[in-house]
């Protein structure tokens, strides 16, 4: 099928399947999925600039579907998402300027996140097993104990005004800490060209103390705003083939719903344990970028 905007010949079935896979991952983990979409689009000959811009457009659509589904489950903190979007966009703009400096640091950060999440989620799951086993219900699945909880509570107690109350997440925390978390995520997003959900989702859980299910839903809501901004700026530069994004999104729409619904069958620590490979993929992308000079 010819896509006239980018002059690319791509099979629509291929795009639907790629969208479907990314949709499942995005709905379940709260990530954009650029680490799959970018290489998948480039593999069929789409120009690098078009791959980035088109992927962002598709992420907007996929996140809208996933957020609507997560919202039905009460997994989206709109206030937190809006505040984080500001920090992410600012970070993304600066991140694009700091590519060299960030690259080395980011590899260490990604590997550390992955190792830490493996340690924490396994420890939490082991300590839960030692406790009295309660029958699994939807409510118990959303209970989200963490072996890192004491550190998170200390961060929440930092009294740096203005403090912001987040009733949906059940916490009160300094606005500056939220902006800092979003800004750091944005820096990596600006550097990698994707959503960098694999740094923001764990940060929301471990630094802000948001329950995992809410972190997934809220991160997706935040991605709608930041990816919309990215789509608009890339479209102005002529980097978006919206027809490709629309076709990809037909697969992603159903995948995102499956991913979002699946989170209801897993506890927070299990979702975090399954998340472990994603930051490692992020690290691999940075290594590839450094070695070849091309973003994935």
């Amino acid at each position: 099928m010819l896509f006239p905007i980018s002059s690319a010949h791509i099979s629509p079935i291929y795009l639907v399947i790629v969208g479907f896979v990314i949709g499942i991952l995005g709905g379940f983990f709260g990530v954009g999925g650029s680490f799959i979409a970018g290489p998948a689009l480039r593999a069929v000959g789409l120009d690098w600039n078009f791959a980035v811009g088109t992927d962002l457009a598709h992420i907007v659509g996929k996140s809208v579907v996933a957020v609507r589904q997560h919202r039905a489950f009460g997994n989206v903190d709109l206030r937190l998402g809006l505040v984080m979007a500001i920090g992410t966009i600012a970070g993304a703009e600066i991140g694009a300027q700091l590519i060299q400096m960030l690259s080395i640091v980011s590899i260490a950060v990604y590997v550390s996140i992955s190792t830490f999440m493996m340690w924490e989620s396994r420890k939490t799951l082991r300590s839960k097993k030692r406790g009295v086993a309660a029958p699994a219900t939807a409510a118990t699945k959303k209970e989200d104990p963490s072996s890192f909880g004491h550190v998170t509570r200390s961060i929440q107690r930092l009294n740096i005004p203005p403090l912001i109350k987040l009733p949906t997440s059940g916490i009160t925390i300094s606005l500056w800490i939220i902006l800092l978390v979003a800004f750091v995520g944005g820096l990596f997003s600006g550097f990698l060209g994707g959503g960098a959900g694999y740094i923001r989702m764990p940060s929301m859980v471990y630094v802000l103390g948001i329950p995992t299910h809410l972190a997934v839903g809220t991160d997706l809501f935040e991605i709608i705003i930041s990816a919309s901004y990215g789509t608009f700026t890339h479209a102005i530069k002529g980097n978006v083939d919206i027809l490709i994004a629309l076709v990809m999104h037909t697969g992603a729409a159903i995948g995102a719903q499956i991913g979002a619904i699946s989170t209801q069958y897993f506890t927070g620590p299990k979702i975090r344990l399954a998340f472990v490979p994603l930051p490692l993929i992020g690290a691999a992308i940075v290594i590839y970028t450094l070695m070849t000079g091309h973003k994935v």
Partner: protein
Amino acid sequence: MKKETAKTLRAFAIELVVYAALVVGYFFLVLHFLGEGLHQLEVRHRYTYAGVALLLIIGQAVILQNVTTLLLRLIRGRAG
């Protein structure tokens, strides 16, 4: 419990088939008509194209989700 899971999976499989048929129709009808117009817009009016692109992807997201939810409700209703 197993019966419920089998019912859900069967409903989902039917939904996928109906959804796939709808999507194929969508490719050939809507994208065929939209393609050239969007291409011209992208060449001549970039800012308008950027806005239209965003509206299209968000609009499609809302419509597709409503379609899949409706399909699932209809199929489950019939199966039940």
